[in-house]
Symmetry: C2
Subunit: 241 residues, 2 copies
Amino acid sequence: MASSTAAPKAFIQQQNLVEQVADYLTQAIIQQHFLPGERLSEVQLSRDLGVSRAPVREAARLLESRGLLISKPRRGFFVRALNAVELEDVFDLRLCLERHAIQRLTERYTPEAQHALEQQVDALCEAAASNDVSRRIEEDLQFHRLILHYAGNERLLRAFDDLTHELRLCITLITKTHEAPDTIATSHFQLLEALNSGSPDVCRGAIDYHIGVARKFVVKGVGETGDSSDEESADEDVLSR
Amino acid sequence: MASSTAAPKAFIQQQNLVEQVADYLTQAIIQQHFLPGERLSEVQLSRDLGVSRAPVREAARLLESRGLLISKPRRGFFVRALNAVELEDVFDLRLCLERHAIQRLTERYTPEAQHALEQQVDALCEAAASNDVSRRIEEDLQFHRLILHYAGNERLLRAFDDLTHELRLCITLITKTHEAPDTIATSHFQLLEALNSGSPDVCRGAIDYHIGVARKFVVKGVGETGDSSDEESADEDVLSR
DNA sequence: TGTTGTAAAACTGTCGACAGTCGACAAAGC
DNA sequence: GCTTTGTCGACTGTCGACAGTTTTACAACA
């Protein structure tokens, strides 16, 4: 869907408007058609999408719960702008979840799981070889999602999915920086090997390293692009600095 | 709600129907005025509460994102019914989050945090001595929330808060079972001692034990009351079963 | 008596409209 | 010139209504 910012008119025709609007907004935010901190006008959106304001509002609330939007009473919805601290927090939580997941996975590592993960690494390598950055990101996330999935805790997976939305938000901020395909490959093969070893300690070390690299990569990227929260200060950041 | 984050709360918060409806629904669900699996009629609710359907729908979506309600297209919203497996998952995720939090807390344990936690244990003991079960639960949750809070990761805290909603859902299911006040006290003092020791390993052991006890307690309770998920349908979970 | 088809009822998804509120801008006061 | 106050426009919060769908009630039939 190469909808430019121009006129997405008649974009939406089927039912389930809320979800479609949510998808549209998600894509638009990730692809930076809406910039961080920008305000979304309900009226404008509903006009552009050809729907009424009700589904737009409900979709916006959905995205708010996913951390993509922030609502200010009587002011409307704003695209969330992650600052450096929040970014660190996201990666810290990701580490928390994935550590736990891979720990559980060692206890129930089936051939099926192994096969699925290996296949996913293949898909990831293929995507990395191509130039489709967003596809690479998705395959990468999907690999990690599989780890969470086979960890056998639905709620844990949901927490990861919730986090993933924010992860996309900051990952795509720095799509310019590009990892080498072979780096990506080896990086994930190491995780597979760790799982095959069956050792929880090895797995933990591997995931710590893996996420640590990703974190540095993204944090550095954001530092370069310099989001620098334009918003005035005094948000609800507790006792920071 | 305890202050904790010390937000400069607005003086007048009369408006915002959505939040009020959400609070009402949350309380009603927790107090089992609506039973698990029961369907909520938007029209009926809006009539009862004297508001239109729009804020009711938005509030319901909010609760859906919190895991208290489940929406089925063209069918409406239903009160979530946790089965035994989901309950185990909730406690497993809780363990995951609190382990990580207490680990972080050992690295930044300030006198302020210590003081706050000690005060909260006092409040908890006081609540336990009284007969107000729901207050005891809230003080207990608040103690754990403080651990997450002082762990210094806002996103981690949010994940915990999200989980807490579901936690309340199942905890209040078994309010009949009643822990002895002294048990509660010692159980939490142990956590304080572990934190004072400064040893991550000791803390981890303490939190593992603590949550393990709570888990057994609740799971046993649910087993007794026997929620017995009536629903049994194929969801769209990825390639699981 | 049990089953099936049909029609009414109830409900959700969506829409357009109205009223109160917020921010911007201009005019008035120091 | 800078601050304060009043007005205007735009927007959100909320409402009642309509259309399509699902559920339920009921009657006809085997």
